[in-house]
Each structure stands twice: as C-alpha cells, then as structure tokens.
C-alpha cells in the first residue's frame, strides 16, 4: 500500500552515481585511447623526443617549437606525398561521388529489375579487407601479371608503361573499390525523396534533367556535402591499400602522408617528433578542406 518514500536527496545521489557508473567505462577507455594520445601527439611534434621511457630518461624531453614543421616545408618527399594525397582526393570527389550518384540515380529512377542484385555486386569490393584487395591488384598489375596480357589482347604492340605512371594503378583501384559506398549512401537518400513530387513534376511536363536539377539535387545537397567530407577525410587517411600495393615505391613516388609518417616512425631509426608533425599537418589539412566544403555548400546549396 505504501510506496517507500524516498527523499529527493537520496534520488539525486542515486542518479549521480548511476550516471557515472554508466559513463565511466567508455569515457576512461576513450580518453586514454583517443583524447590523450591526440594531445600527446601534438606535444611530441613540438619536442625532440627520441624514444625510451618518458620519465627518468637520461636524455630529457625538451620542447623545440616548430622545428619539425619547418623541416617538413623543406622536404621534397613530404610534398610528393601531399601531391599524391590530393590526387586521391580528386579521384574521390570528382570520380567516385559522381559515378556513385549516377549509378544510384539510374538504379532508383531507371525502373530496372534486379536493383538489389546490382547494388550488392557493386558494393562487394568495399566489404573485403583492403589487404586482400591490395595484394590481388598488386599481382594483377605486376609487370609479369595479368594486366599487360589483358591489354595485349586489344593492342598487340603494347609495352608496359606502368613504371612511368606508378600512381595510375593505385588511383584506379581506389576508384574501383569505394564507388560502391557512395552508390549505397546516395541510393538510401534517394529513396527518402517523396516519389509523388517527382511524379507530379513529370505530369507537369518536366524533363528528366529538370527533375534532377530542380528537385533531386537540391534535396540531396546535404548528403552530397556529407559524402564530400567523407571522401576528403578518407582520402587523406588512406594507408592500407597503398602500403600493401606499393609500400610507397618505386622511390617514394606513390607515397602518401600517412605512409610517409609511418616510415618516419617505424622504419629505421624512429623519428617520432617528425612523424607526429606530419600527422598534425594531416589533421589540419583535413579540417581546412572540410571547412571549405561546408562554406561552399552554404554559398551555393542550402535549399533544403
């Protein structure tokens, strides 16, 4: 009959305890795995740390300012890596996204049968480990691999020129692998558009191009920005595929920022401060590009 009367204080106390019990396990792991190391990375990039324990080390840990960043500006391989990263960004933003959108659009509007089949198959490369994909394509494009023979079927005089364009196979594989992701994202969002609006426009005599331009694209502008951000940050981070396919070679010509950073930190004598300067620059570039993308969207899109 009588509900136990709890004092408000008691309830508050229990709430507070429950809150921390629920939050703390995730919070502790997150702070020690992501938040602290990120700050630590920036500190390292400003220091002359050479390895060994952080405390009680014979060679003390000193801050040296922006020395490593200045070194990067004089490093031609850094710019080579940066250049390759921008090529990947370009392939993603101007290759994968438009093609992914185009395929999603014809799947959605083209009244084709077997939509699920096509979608499943085109997305297939994305679910497989990058390592498997990388080794597969590495043997496909190898000088004694299948690619030269395939080309010779069409052009018997072909001599392999891949050595003079080492980035071309890498860019192709990136294009091949991730287009399906954008197809899926666009298809999911196309399906959210109310079809009765599209039908009404058609009845009023709008052409397919007009429907696309005045209804579909404005409705998707937010998604397009999201996919661009996804593509930019993904492209800047790309590592696995290139590590497996070329390891940055020949002569660093296919290296990218994350690979270059990895080499500095884990190959030969470790240069941790320099490596962390590279990763900090990567984060900054990615923030700047994302900021630009969002500004462009605000200026020209934003009709949703």
């Amino acid at each position: 009959m009588n509900k136990r009367v709890k004092s408000i204080n008691y309830v508050k106390k229990e709430e507070g305890r429950a809150y921390w019990l629920l939050v703390l396990p995730g919070l502790i792991i997150y702070f020690s795995i992501m938040a602290f190391p990120t700050i630590f990375s920036v500190v390292l990039s400003l220091s002359n740390y050479k390895g060994g324990p952080l405390f009680g080390n014979r060679t003390p840990f000193e801050l040296v300012g922006f020395k490593w960043y200045a070194n990067l500006l004089k490093d031609e391989y850094f710019f080579m890596a940066l250049n390759n990263n921008f090529k990947i960004v370009l392939v993603s933003v101007f290759g994968q996204i438009p093609l992914g959108f185009f395929l999603a659009y014809i799947l959605h509007r083209g009244m084709v049968k077997g939509k699920i089949f096509f979608q499943t198959m085109i997305y297939l490369p994305c679910v497989i480990s990058t390592v498997v994909i990388g080794i597969l394509w590495k043997s496909f494009f190898a000088p004694n691999g299948a690619f030269p023979e395939l080309v010779k079927i069409f052009n018997p005089d072909y001599e392999t020129q891949l050595l003079s364009h080492p980035m071309a196979p890498v860019l192709f594989v990136i294009f091949w692998m991730y287009t399906g992701t954008y197809l899926i994202i666009f298809l999911a969002n196309l399906q959210k558009i109310d079809t009765s609006i599209l039908e009404a426009a058609k009845i009023d005599g709008a052409t397919e191009m007009q429907v696309l331009k005045y209804i579909v694209l404005p409705a998707l502008s937010g998604v397009i920005v999201t996919t661009c951000i996804l593509a930019i940050s993904g492209s800047l981070k790309s590592f696995d595929l290139i590590y497996v396919m070329t390891s940055g070679g020949p002569a660093n010509r296919t290296t990218v920022l994350s690979l270059y950073m990895f080499d500095k930190a884990f190959k030969g004598a470790p240069k941790y401060p320099l490596a962390n300067a590279i990763s900090t620059v990567m984060v900054m570039i990615s923030f700047i590009l994302i900021w630009i993308t969002m500004r462009v969207e605000k200026r020209f899109g934003g009709r949703t």
Binding site: I29, F36, S129, V132, L136, F140, L230
Partner: protein, 283 residues
C-alpha cells in the same frame, strides 16, 4: 498521335537497354577481379605463368591445403574472431551505456562529455598511432591481445556514443519514469528496457564495428609482431610477402582471407547497407 507514342516507346526501350548495359558493365568490372582471383587460386604457379587470364585446365586444391597450413590460417581466423567479437560487444555496451546516461539522466557534465566524444569523430588514427605505440610499450601491453583490444574499443566509442545517444533520446521518458516508480535501478532499466528498445541502432553499430575491426590493418600491424596474436589481414600480408612469387598459394590465401567477410556480407546484406548510410556521419 499514335506515332508519337510509338516513338517515345522506342526511345524508352533504348534508354532502358542502355541502362542495363551500363549497369551490367559496372557490375562486371566490380566483380571481375574477384572471379579472376578465384579462378587463379585453382591453378598451379606454373600454369598461372602460362595462362594468366583463362580458366584453369584442371582444378588444383593443393594450394588451399598448403596455404592453410603454412599461413597458420586457423590461428589467424580465431584471433580475428576474438578481436572482432570482443570489440563489438564492448563498443556496443559501453557506448550505449554512456548514450543512455547522456540522453536520459540530466547532469551538468553531459554537455562537455558528449561534446568530447563528438570531437572524436573527427580525430584520425594517424595522429594517435605513435602515441599509442609508445603507451602500449610503456605499460607492457605490446604484443598482447589486450593491447590490441583496448585501442579498438576506444576507437569505436565516438561513433557508438553518437548513434546511441541519438537513438536513445527517441525512447519515451515515460517508460523510464514508470520503471523508476516501480523501484527499478538504472542498471536494470538499461538492460531490460533501453538495450532491447535500442536494438536497431545497436545492430547498425555492431555491423559497422564488425566490418571495421575485422578489416583493420594499420594499428594491429604496429602493435603486434608475434605470429600467434596477429589478425587475418596482417597474417595474409606477411604470408604474401614471404611467398611473393608463388602465385598459386598466394591466391588461395587471398580467397581464404575474403571468405569470412563475404559470408558476413551475404547474410547481413540489408543491415550492412543500412549501416553504411547511417555511419556516414563519421568524418
């Protein structure tokens, strides 16, 4: 009148045929390399050198047996299951616990804490790689399973907390309040009301975590050097590197490596597709 209709009909037909041709061409491009791989995994290396594009003359299974034994694939697959399974369980559990607290228990720390998780969506693995490597060494977790699992769980938290908080917000407060009036503690409410009701979001998060963890390569590559705790991708890379000219075995190893994810994809195709578009928030 009818002529116009016939004309538009023909035009529509041609359009439809072109659409199919395009789609089939792209589908073929997407899966041809995988079929090429499969077909070559049944050839001996000598046969591959002579016939790189065609189908195998006779199907040789010895590549698979050799690769399985020499690559220690049994151990690698088991390790990948351990890493993926435990990471997924803990990411879903911890991030939904935090999401529940952020969404349903008013507290003045929520703004700062949930904000710091959101920032995590923008952080990159590259900028924590060196610090993590150093820290894992200092605390003596280098080359241990725990030293791989803890980073994996931490990395999964931002997206998990984001998805969890957003979804749990949509669960009606009344359900929680009435359970509170009946004397239920928050822990009980979490397990018997929140988790079951947040199942769709939990499945999405689990799918994303499974695919991400199973395929993760960069971090585990630097955190382990011992063969017995490596995951499948790292093991395959090492195996292929050691046998770079023995194509038959290498291709068989790759096929073994892609089967688990392929099976997972075939079973959870719908959920994966949904998860990809939901996970597109991660920048």
């Amino acid at each position: 009148m009818s002529e116009i209709k016939i004309k538009t009909d023909v035009k529509a037909k041609i359009g439809l045929i072109l659409t199919y041709v395009l789609l089939i061409a792209f589908t073929f491009l997407a899966i041809y390399p995988l079929l090429w791989l499969l077909s070559n995994s049944f050839k001996t290396t000598t046969e591959f050198q002579l016939n790189k594009l065609g189908l195998p003359n006779n199907i040789v299974l010895i590549n698979y047996a050799d690769a399985w034994v020499r690559g220690k694939f049994g151990v690698l697959i088991m390790n990948s299951f351990i890493y993926t399974g435990l990471t997924t369980v803990f990411v879903v559990l911890f991030s939904f616990m935090a999401g529940f607290a952020f969404a349903k228990i008013p507290h003045r720390a929520t703004k700062f804490l949930s904000g710091s998780f959101i920032i995590g969506l923008l952080l990159t693995l590259q900028s924590i790689m060196v610090p993590l490597f150093l820290m894992v060494n200092w605390v003596g977790l280098y080359n241990t399973r725990l030293g791989v699992l803890l980073p994996y769980i931490g990395i999964g938290m931002p997206l998990g907390v984001y998805l969890g908080t957003e979804y749990i917000k949509s669960i009606p407060d009344a359900l929680i309040e009435s359970a509170r009036l009946d004397g239920a503690k928050y822990g009980r409410i979490f397990f018997s009301i929140i988790l079951p009701m947040a199942k769709p979001a939990a499945i999405t998060l689990a799918i994303l975590t499974v695919t991400g963890t199973w395929n993760e390569f960069m971090l585990i590559n630097i955190l382990t050097s011992n063969d017995s705790i490596k995951s499948l991708p790292v093991g395959i890379q090492a195996f292929a590197g050691a046998l770079s000219s023995d194509y038959g075995k290498q291709f068989a190893a790759l096929v073994i490596g892609l089967i688990p994810m392929l099976a997972f994809y075939m079973v959870f195709r719908k959920e994966i597709t949904k998860g990809v578009s939901a996970g597109a928030v991660k920048g």
